[in-house]
Symmetry: C2
Subunit: 409 residues, 2 copies
Amino acid sequence: MAELYEQLNPPPRLLMGPGPVNADPRVLQAMSMPLLGQFDPDFTGYMNQVMELYRGVFQTANHWSFVVNGTARAGIEAILTSIITPGDRVLVPVAGRFGQLLCEIAERCRAEVHIIERPWGEVFPADQVEDAIVAHDPKLVAVVHGDTSTTMAQPLADIGKACRRHDRLLYADATATLGGMDFPVDAWNIDAASAGLQKCLSGPPGSAPITINERVAEVVLRRKHIEQGIRPEGFNPGDGEMIQSNYFDLPMLMDYWSESRLNHHTEATSALYAARECARVVLAEGLAARIARHERAGRALSAGIEAMGLRLFGDTRHKMHNVTGIEVPDGIDAAAVIRAMLDDFAIEIGTSFGPMRGRVWRIGTMGHNARKDAVTNTLAALEVTLRRSGYAAPAGAGVDAALAVFGDS
Amino acid sequence: MAELYEQLNPPPRLLMGPGPVNADPRVLQAMSMPLLGQFDPDFTGYMNQVMELYRGVFQTANHWSFVVNGTARAGIEAILTSIITPGDRVLVPVAGRFGQLLCEIAERCRAEVHIIERPWGEVFPADQVEDAIVAHDPKLVAVVHGDTSTTMAQPLADIGKACRRHDRLLYADATATLGGMDFPVDAWNIDAASAGLQKCLSGPPGSAPITINERVAEVVLRRKHIEQGIRPEGFNPGDGEMIQSNYFDLPMLMDYWSESRLNHHTEATSALYAARECARVVLAEGLAARIARHERAGRALSAGIEAMGLRLFGDTRHKMHNVTGIEVPDGIDAAAVIRAMLDDFAIEIGTSFGPMRGRVWRIGTMGHNARKDAVTNTLAALEVTLRRSGYAAPAGAGVDAALAVFGDS
């Protein structure tokens, strides 16, 4: 493999799949900045800024807002494994692959997992969740906000109220929505939430912003533990069972992210720079403006898809702003279209998982890519590719409809 | 906090602590390259290259050589949590904080942990480890190669032979030595190993190269599991107990890093670029040349320290090449010296943990910083700082001695 020693040279791509999407160039630039030591006052200053910036992005006053050094599911696992003690009951509404993932992680934490299900493409009415809370008596309700596998966004405000009414903890996975759809953690009574950078925040995967409130902090701090070798004399561990992961032990992460700066992992310097820049770019644009931009781009793409005679997947009243599911027309090879889009136009789109694999395409309009030219180029390329695959959409109709939404026609 | 919205602007630093060290500029540059989709053939091509490159860096023929998306301890935890089934006996030789960390992680995997100890600053003779294998009958021996907390490098060749003789698995933590000291995985009969980028590989923290051989693969694949939603029909899980972490489930990571590319996390694109560039730079220099460069830089620094009348910490016959422990002279405030080095010279050095905190300075000569000017500037600045703190070393003696080692005096 001679190419082993060649300079890294990734080909140009317009990443319109379900993520990762193209990183904002400012984020790429931030990652090439020189490293700092983990206890350098300038670096811990940046850590504190990251906490404050993500309070803004999560719309929360939660002190404990920081990043876990791993991809989005690292954030999920850090929260679930720190909250769940073996035998705890956990309720998970499942209507897609990422709901299944929450079950899977909770099971590994040895929770007693109770599942309620709806067909993929639907969302849960809050009273169905509330009934299940009454029936199963869970400590924690764990739910996905935007499940990219189905492109559905689960309404959470009433679920949050129900959880608070019954005094249950609510965790929400905002990996695919944070920064692209409204996700007001405090207003919706969400006790813990996590995300990733590679969707609407337009950064690289590898860093998971999380936030927890005092209700969760109290639960996890009962399991507080400090490693030998850095343990102050006289330290008494909490009376709760030790968290089964060292890497994902939230109380230890909280010590590291507090002024005591107790050594845990070595914070991933460049990933922290990226996370800071993502949040800075989001808040500089303004959350409301950014969400409106995502909504418009998603609406334009959807309008273009429908104008091409294609059908959107699922209950479109609850469609995510930033990912669009498209039913593959009969007789069309979904994978061949995806390959041709990449080969002929350097545009990436995706399919989905499980029952939807090969039956649905997914197109993301996220972060830096939630913009007019990304939408129009994708629609134009898709029209050509579909025609060459045997599906003739009305010429130019997709782009026309998208431009009408953008107000340029 | 007005600075929240300011452009990232880390101050210049020469990072001569125990890590992270300054990243190689080529690695910083690689991280600013545009992202690719996780299943893009060009990206999976880079993943395969990373596997091949780390076979070179680990000096192994192991097929399963790849990176875990997290800092160094993520690699440790992925290996330990996948190998250890609750109740398994694990033997850990402990002579420093990172030996303690292996115990801590193994305990959270619910292993029955057997510890043998030596004072910090010593290493274990192989027969002490072999005796403990006979006494405690462990499934796994977990040992740190270079424990930065003490700056000692544990000889492993004979421990590897002993483990093979008794048919036990051997895991070695090479976080602080890979790429800077010889670490031939296959020749030393190491069954599993992990590292980080931020030491001798001169990359950012956040990515953990690991390698496992077929003996370990066989053990962990008995616990193979595939998530619902991507599980092929007719899949039978292994007959071993499910691994307690989803994120660190090695069989699932192996599926993701194999041609089946079963979706797990979303590989951290920029971190993968960094990991590739680190390994590429190491192998382009040549492992032997790079190790010799680390050895010389460490020897030069040590010579300079001793010429200043300071004492090296620990059993210097087993000192790591790339980190030097220095006993703090009586009456000198260790923390004040560290602060002054940073404030007055922008040079970072460190202290250590636990019993050594404030009693020892640690100076790293790692990766990009294992070079003459980094050593001479550090010694010159330290001489000045010590003199201003009340310890007068012979003027210029430290730099003279270092330059003599580099052959320039």
